[in-house]
């Protein structure tokens, strides 16, 4: 019995962390927030093998598991790294291989980091009044909102019958409208389809549900990393900042805020590990664990985001310290692919309650 990370997994996470510390510090995140491009960071990650992490070796990838992918997601969250990771390196490869498209040429380009895939899947979770996709297996009509990794060259889109499509960003009849969102480390937008031709990858509703659940686990891991970084920053700041002639870290009021963050967050680590492990090892459990993991980790991360900001006092509120990038990243993860109340209901239904 072994519940934990293997040596290889620890090394993987260490190497991604080292790269991001060196190549994607906060100054780089700020540049991205202004220009909305991070091609060089993604190139660097691709050269580390991150782009092809879950893609088989025959297609030029590394052939690792969804569990490994969640560990990388955690690292990206810790550094609030802008990257097309979840769609391009995790969901799209899984969508292609699990729908019988193991030979699809896109896989090689994804592994090389030269192709990217955005996710237009929110409508498959719960379509808003002015959105929703109608498809017939070949042609799409309708609108998708807050598409994840909007800047990608391809999109995964789901229709009203849980069919899954791959659409070229330049496809005929596709109108793209960027949408500013609170998290400047992520690019969002709306897609409007008017008789847009699309490649139907799958009509398997279970596969679509699984892909959404995998996305939820990746977002939960991202929030885990982002919240851990906020806690680390809060503790470091409290040890340094002096008021009343002593570090504020010596005041119980401040210590208890930090202890409450750590106490809530640390169990999320085991939860994210298990949910990520279950993707490959316990498919029957994915539904419930993915929903609970994203909902619970989002609640905890939201609490950490607020509390860690408060520990920083007025500086936490400024752009100068930049804590808000993590705060907003956690906020973004919470809303995407199903907010907590919605997916807790999914968890209840999946248990037959």
């Amino acid at each position: 019995m072994d519940f934990g990370l293997s040596e290889e997994q620890t090394l993987l996470q260490d190497s991604v962390n080292r790269f991001l510390e060196a190549e994607a510090p906060l100054t780089r995140v700020r540049e991205f927030a202004e220009q909305q491009t991070s091609d060089d960071v993604w190139e660097g990650l691709a050269s580390l093998g991150v782009a092809g992490l879950t893609i088989g070796e025959s297609a030029g990838g590394v052939g690792l598991t969804a569990f490994d992918a969640a560990l990388v997601s955690e690292s990206l969250g810790y550094h609030t790294t802008p990257s097309p990771y979840v769609g391009s390196a995790v969901i799209a490869p899984m969508a292609l291989t699990r729908s019988g498209h193991e030979e699809h040429p896109l896989l090689g380009d994804l592994a090389a980091g030269t192709a990217t895939v955005g996710l237009a899947l929110n409508e498959a979770v719960a379509a808003r009044a002015d959105a929703g996709i109608n498809g017939n297996g070949e042609i799409l009509n309708g609108k998708a909102l807050y598409v994840h990794d909007f800047g990608a060259a391809n999109y995964l889109v789901a229709d009203q019958d849980q069919r899954l499509y791959l659409v070229d960003a330049g496809a005929h009849g596709l109108a793209r409208q960027p949408l500013a969102n609170i998290d400047q480390t992520r690019v969002s937008g709306a897609l409007e389809f008017r008789d847009t031709p699309a490649t139907c990858l799958s009509d398997d509703a279970d596969l679509l549900a699984t892909l959404i659940d995998v996305g939820r686990v990746m977002l939960a891991a991202d929030s885990l990393g982002a919240a851990q970084c906020m806690l680390d920053q809060a503790v470091a700041y409290a040890k340094e900042r002096e008021q009343f002639n002593r570090p504020i870290a010596s005041f119980q009021a401040v210590k208890h805020m930090c202890a409450e963050m750590a106490a809530a967050l640390e169990p999320c680590r085991a939860m994210v590990w298990y949910a990520a492990h279950a993707i490959d090892a316990a498919p029957d459990e994915i539904r419930v664990t993915a929903c609970h993991t994203k909902a619970h980790t989002s609640e905890v991360a939201t609490f950490v985001a607020k509390t860690a900001t408060e520990v920083h006092g007025g500086m936490g509120f400024t752009d100068l310290v930049g804590l808000h990038y993590w705060f907003k990243r956690i906020g973004y993860n919470r809303q995407m692919l199903g907010a907590p109340e919605l997916i807790r209901e999914e968890a209840a239904l999946a248990q037959g309650l």
Binding site: M1, V235, R344
Partner: protein
């Protein structure tokens, strides 16, 4: 990540199951108070290695090598079958491991065998009215007079003092020494003249605890465990053990299942409680929290087995998170029942689950406070887990 236990352990699990199938029906319901029935069941369990498993044979145990997974399997299977796991209590849980670690050979021979079989029962005399979170400031004194310690003072929160045969106690033997170095660990008979036990009724309406008063209580000199002045270290080794056992997520899971069952069967206005969207969401929130603590527990278990992984913080949070979670879970059991949730006591025909939701709601508030309060837990987490400094000490006021 490999969550299988392996063939050796699967075989062991089958063995435990066969035992439970064959003998489970013999188990008495009562666990707390040793009666002839519970003692007979305890002897059966020891004989088969399901109680006192790793205690050496020479002291009346089963004598197995410590094996964390086998112990876990026993716990899982007994819980699953809802079969009495044998005697618990502070003698078995805390005193026996202490004696094995620091007791003399004579003390082990004298105390361990009857404790394991329930012939000798124990209470723990640690807390005092003036020594709660700051336990090391305790003042109950023991002065050596010839061959005897003479004890004066008072203990409080002493569960089972009214039925225990013996007490293990922390007393101050070196009044001039710094507070942590002036304490000794003594064993004393509860029928010694000068001991008075008064039940302490708590908010649940039950006397779960007692006060114990000592007036010139004389105890043989040899009934000290460890050296004079080293009682704090002796006690600390097992206090940590107590903290680990509070907030066990597997016990919480059993309650969560009971709550889910309650919400599926109980109705209001013809609607099942589980179909009410707000109650339903609250249940799901609790379920998510229970899940997180269970995976945290698996991570700790794995680290214990494999001696790997940095789980210091994961351990430190269990008591704080586990007791708060359990309290919240019990609160939901009351809330979902509205006015029906008020029911308490045995004679009320409308009370549900024997009033256990109200009882545990209050009892777990007690456990949030007891065994190191939530605030003390937060000090531990921030200081030992996050490396934050201690609060500067004020000059002593007395």
């Amino acid at each position: 990540m490999d969550l299988s236990y392996g063939p050796e352990y699967d075989a062991f699990r089958d063995e435990v199951r066969s035992f439970l199938t064959a003998r489970g029906a013999d188990a008495p319901q009562d666990r707390a108070k040793p009666s002839e029935n519970t003692r007979a069941w305890q002897r059966t369990l020891i004989e088969h290695g399901y109680a006192a498993r790793t205690i050496p044979k020479e002291y009346g145990g089963y004598g197995a090598e410590p094996d964390i997974l086998k112990s876990r399997i026993i716990a899982e299977e007994f819980a699953q079958a809802r079969v009495n796991r044998g005697l618990g209590g502070q003698g078995i849980a805390m005193l026996v491991p202490t004696l094995l670690e620091v007791g003399t050979e004579e003390q082990r021979q004298q105390f361990i065998p009857p404790t394991l079989t329930g012939e000798m029962t124990w209470c723990q005399g640690y807390s005092e009215p003036g020594a709660g979170s700051d336990l090391a400031s305790l003042r109950t004194s023991a002065v050596l007079d010839g061959d005897e310690w003479v004890i004066n003072g008072q203990k409080i929160w002493t569960s089972t003092a009214h039925i225990a045969d013996w007490m293990f106690a922390l007393v101050r033997t070196e009044p001039e020494a710094p507070k942590h170095q002036g304490i000794s660990f003594l064993l004393l008979r509860m029928d010694t003249p000068g001991i008075e036990v008064r039940p302490l009724v708590d908010m649940t309406g039950t006397a779960n605890f007692n006060e114990v008063f000592f007036t010139d209580v004389r105890v043989p000199k040899g009934q000290i465990v460890g050296n004079r002045g080293e009682g704090w270290q002796v006690a600390n080794a097992i206090l940590r053990h107590e903290r680990d056992s509070l907030g066990d997520p597997n016990a919480t899971l059993t309650r969560l299942n009971a709550l889910t069952e309650l919400m599926k069967t109980e109705t209001m206005g013809g609607q099942r409680l589980i179909d009410h969207p707000t109650y339903r969401d609250r249940l799901m929130r609790i379920q998510g929290r229970v899940m997180a603590m269970r995976f945290n527990d698996m991570r700790i278990l794995s680290s214990n087995i494999n001696k790997s992984g940095d789980t210091a913080l994961a351990r430190m949070v269990v008591k704080l998170q586990g007791t708060e979670l359990r309290h919240d879970l019990e609160a939901l059991g009351i809330d979902v029942m509205g006015e029906l949730g008020l029911g308490y006591g045995k004679d009320n025909p409308y009370v549900r689950d024997g009033g256990s939701w109200q009882f545990h709601y209050m009892f777990y508030l007690g456990l949030i406070i007891g065994g190191g309060t939530s605030q003390i837990q937060k000090n531990i987490i921030s200081e030992r887990g996050l490396g934050m400094p201690k609060e500067p000490k004020l000059p002593a006021t007395r």
